[in-house]
């Protein structure tokens, strides 16, 4: 084989190497997304309908408010905004807890950094079902916190089944996903930059605000997406820690799936996906950064 022939064969082989993945990606990544839209806009006999989409926006149910009055609410809109609210609160708490921590780790010695990062990854590698369940046993009315309170002759607190419990679960499950990307950006930051800022007259707070914060922004953005997306779409945490009282968008999809209402499940998933895509496009506009998220 001549040199040119070899190059040609190599190029042909490289093109061929991409073929199986291309087919796979089209069949198992792209086409399934169209199936969500297809199911969302069809009825049980696969005839076109907007019934399921309309149901998402118009379905109502009655809730009893704290004052005892009965109020009619838009069921699924309420669920969506509740998911958004709890996920945003959890993300903010994760950021407030995780950012200083990532900074502290990045300033530690090489060895300490490595050990601490390994330790943060340990709970991450445990299945989130187990982690969430552990919190359920702690927060229960007869759980550890209340037996501790009882031993100290304090009144028992009712935590499980509140929105607070769901937030605790989300923060616990996803905190490492906030710490790690912020840390990895901070660890790569040149120490000389910080020293230079200080030499040029910056106070410690000034260094933090003017140098560390802007440089760590990419880590913050990816941390936010890595916490926000799984917490907004979770369904196990709310079932276990919210006692099933606080349906989230994930619960809505899951319960429709479990009840075999595949078309309505698809409709909720479709609307959810559209909102997420719009949100991500907006974020990309605002930050000029590509979003890599997921769990």
């Amino acid at each position: 084989m001549s040199r040119a022939e070899k190059r040609q064969t190599a190029a042909a082989m490289q093109r061929a190497a991409l073929a199986p993945y291309t087919v796979w990606a089209v069949v198992f990544i792209v086409v399934p997304l169209f199936f969500i839209a297809y199911y969302a806009f069809t009825d049980d006999n696969f005839a076109f309908t907007t019934r399921h989409i309309v149901r998402f926006f118009t379905a109502t149910s009655e809730v009893v408010t704290d004052a005892g009055a009965v109020r009619e609410v838009r069921t699924y809109l309420l669920i969506f905004f509740r998911s958004l609210k709890l996920a945003v609160i959890s993300t903010i708490i994760c950021l407030l807890m995780g950012y200083p921590f990532a900074y502290l780790i990045s300033r530690a010695s090489d060895r300490a950094q490595k050990t601490m990062i390994t330790l943060i990854m340990v709970p991450m590698w445990m299945n989130f079902l187990i982690r969430t369940y552990a919190w359920m046993t702690i927060l229960q009315d007869t759980g550890l916190i209340n037996s501790l309170f009882g031993a100290l002759r304090l009144p028992t607190v009712h935590i499980i089944g509140t929105e607070g419990a769901v937030v605790i679960g989300m923060v616990y499950d996803y905190l490492p996903y906030m710490i790690l990307p912020i840390y990895s950006v901070m660890a790569k930051m040149d120490v000389k930059l910080l020293e230079a800022a200080r030499d040029l007259g910056c106070s410690s707070a000034g260094v933090l605000r003017r140098v560390v914060l802007p440089l760590s922004m990419p880590g913050v953005i990816s941390g936010i997406t890595m916490v926000l997306i799984p917490s907004i779409s979770t369904f196990y945490i709310s079932q276990k820690l919210g006692n099933g009282k606080f349906y989230l968008i994930g619960d809505a999809i899951e319960s429709q799936y479990a009840a075999n209402n595949l078309h309505f499940a698809a409709a909720i998933a479709f609307i959810f996906m559209v909102i997420l895509l719009a949100g991500m496009a907006l974020m990309r506009r605002l930050t000029g950064q590509r979003i890599y998220g997921g769990a």
Binding site: R15, V31, Y38, R111, I120, A134, T137, K240, A269
Partner: protein, 273 residues
Amino acid sequence: MKKTNRFSHLYTALIFAFLFAPIAILVVFSFNEAKSLSVFSRASVKWYRELFRDSVTLASLKNTLILAVAASLISTVMGTAAAVGINKLRRKWLSAAMDTVTNIPMVNPDIITGISLMLMFVFVGRFFGLATSLSFWTMLIAHITFCLPYVILQVLPKLRQMDPSLPEAAMDLGCTPMRAFFKAELPEIMPGVITGLIMAFTLSLDDFVISYFTQGNGFQTLPIRIYNMTKKTVTPKMYALATIIFFVILTLLLVTNLIGDEDAAPKKRKTRR
């Protein structure tokens, strides 16, 4: 200065306490004779004995391992080949399109990925008149699908770092293109391939949401088994299981950390100075 130091130690301790307290409780109460999770009666390994007698859980562990091995191997081979191809794409729009599609499973919430695959499997199953189309195979397809992007993302940077003249030199020195890839190119990108394989393996082991939607025909993985166990009141058997998982993970991570320490430390110091 000392004050901030003390504060940072306290803060670190608090975060780690938060991260490990729930796990510590599971570990302690897995050795509890009684079923209670708040009162420790007497130390015993009763629940461990019961766990090892639970054939359903053991079978699901076996299923999880079979699935993770198959999914990680297939996605590593396919993903590595794909990365080689993507790296050579010259048309901008083609590589941008590839990039976008590859990102979809990573950006999408797991529940969307799971639902979308399930709907397609159900539809295709109905088309062929099957009662249920969900089985081990649909789960395997789903796992390969969500593992692939992570493999590609690990291998692609290694290919871009590699000197492109390396395989060319191998060919000039008499290698066939195939041999040049396996002898010159593959060893160069091996670290990325291995990391991709490990990531795919652990992602597959740990996945619950996507497996939940694509499961069928009684094929149960360990996370699904745990889900089914926590649906009813849980026996401390599950804490015994969690404890074993915790120590396996801890050992694995510490061992890889120590091994990584030995060959990474001198290199790191060099780049620092």
